[in-house]
Symmetry: C2
Subunit: 309 residues, 2 copies
């Protein structure tokens, strides 16, 4: 199975309002809820691709219960979330029906106690015994050590399990030091890490900081990978209008399934880019449109790039 | 005991953000939750004033459970909410820490089935047997008949229980036809009902539409009552800066406790105005500051107004 870790899982709530006017009162016309947090998004896409997928991390409180109920109802993902005393955070996306723009409000998440953290590590090590790959995804809740992804990477490597790391800021910086097999930053995260806004240069730099391979998601420009075997850029056949929420998480699922299936790198990138575009095109945020995915896959263009300067 | 009815109870969530920028992503720095909906706000103030108070209405889903847990933990209010299959709505207040302004997002609430509605009516009639007064408060969830407050008023009168009605729009218009003992609109609701923005004229008009008495909350201008015995305006000694959320609900609690205690009208208005100002001054939205209330009470100024033109 493939394991995904979501330390700061969320109950994602989407509100539709006719028009967002700050400092006034709004009647919400539509409410939608889904299990959220990057690792859970990755897990549901992996499961939809037919991979046996287990999700761990933390869940607690009424919001945690709601998240777990939705996960059980709506996905084939196996729930191995560890109970936590605090309540799972909510994220609220307010969609302005007039402009289509989204205003996002993200709660910080529950504080994790040392005991809860120890319980998680026990579960994680046990799950690694069956895992073919692990994805470490997203932001950290309060109370979790900032070098957590370095620790989880080392534990995975000790168990012989390859690691994909998808996070940002200090947790990314610290995580890279433990040499994950693949890091998946987006262009902004890559620039914040390396100080360079030129993706190829920045991806090479990120590799030097410790990742065996770096796959950078570049929005409409597709995905750029710099690896030990070469560098490639995969580009979708055209631009897609839609909601980019979860597009990066779908790309992670594409890369991870490609790794487990031992696909050549260009094929992994095609899958990631097609899944990403199919997510932008889907009516619900974070879902992917299976037909769009199948149609796009043969039309993604891969070009060689120089792996070193 | 005093009974309050909240057909569209809410889990009130307050988010504090450093600055609200529409169409961007925000990290929420503080999250607070409380039981919400006008009738529940009224109930907690009545309980804080020392009145035995029972709250009924509907609650359901994980949000309903969270609301009931908070009600039990934080108040002396007796919970007689009727279970409903749908989930209790959330309201989200986003407070901009820079300006202090609030952007409010209100979910519509669960759809109430005819069976659930019938179950509520049974509970309501039973509770009326012990009630000295009832407050019918707030908006209606989907599925509840729009003339509900007229029906509930008639049932209360059949049981000899006086009724305070605090709602707006069509439910207010229809409710007045059943001749509640007191209606408590604010200036906007009164203007929407009568077409007049002149409060005294509008309050007299609202009385002619069926209420035995009308007490209109006028924000910083205090409260204006038009009754069979006369008309009065009560004004706070000065303006108060703060959060007006729940100020109207505290005024309802003041009026209702005054009715039950058979206070003269001017004393009821003083209590309502002092409670209202003490709510604006309280640090948490919808709470009232007991010290401010006691200090203000002797300083509210009441003037006679002509009850008829």
């Amino acid at each position: 199975m493939i394991l995904t870790v979501t330390l700061n899982a969320a109950l994602d709530i989407t509100y539709r309002v006719p028009r967002l006017h700050p400092h006034t009162t709004h009647r919400v016309t539509e409410v939608a809820e889904r299990p959220g947090g990057k690792g859970l998004n990755v897990a549901r896409v992996l499961a939809a691709l037919g991979h046996r997928t287990v999700a761990t991390g933390f869940a607690g409180g009424g919001t945690g219960e709601a998240l777990r109920a939705l996960l059980a109802q709506e996905t084939a993902v196996t729930d191995a979330l560890v109970p936590v005393g605090g309540a799972t955070r909510r994220t609220v996306a307010v969609v302005d029906a007039g402009t289509g723009d989204t205003t996002q409000l993200n709660e910080p998440g529950p504080t994790v106690s040392p005991t809860e953290w120890a319980a998680f590590l026990g579960t994680y090590r046990e799950l690694l015994g069956e895992a073919r790959a692990v994805a470490l995804c997203g932001s950290l809740p309060p109370g979790v050590p900032v070098d957590v992804y370095a620790r989880l990477t080392r534990a995975a490597h000790a168990a012989g399990v390859p690691v994909l790391l998808d996070t940002s800021g200090e947790p990314l910086r610290r995580g890279l030091a433990a040499r994950p097999d693949l890091a998946k930053p987006n262009a902004d995260e890559l620039a914040a890490l390396t100080g360079s806004t030129e993706p190829l240069r920045a991806a090479r730099d990120a590799r030097r900081r410790g990742a065996h391979a770096v796959a950078a998601s570049l929005g409409a420009d597709g995905m750029l990978a710099v690896t030990a075997d070469g560098a490639w850029q995969a580009t979708p056949p055209r631009r897609f209008a839609g909601n980019p929420t979860g597009a990066g998480d779908s790309a992670v699922a594409g890369l991870l399934s490609g790794l487990v299936e031992e696909l050549p790198w260009p094929d992994r990138l095609c899958r990631a880019v097609a899944l990403s575009a199919a997510t932008v095109r889907a009516p619900a945020a974070g879902e992917f449109d299976a037909t769009t995915y199948q149609e796009l896959l043969p039309h993604v263009v891969v070009t060689d790039r120089p792996a070193v300067a």
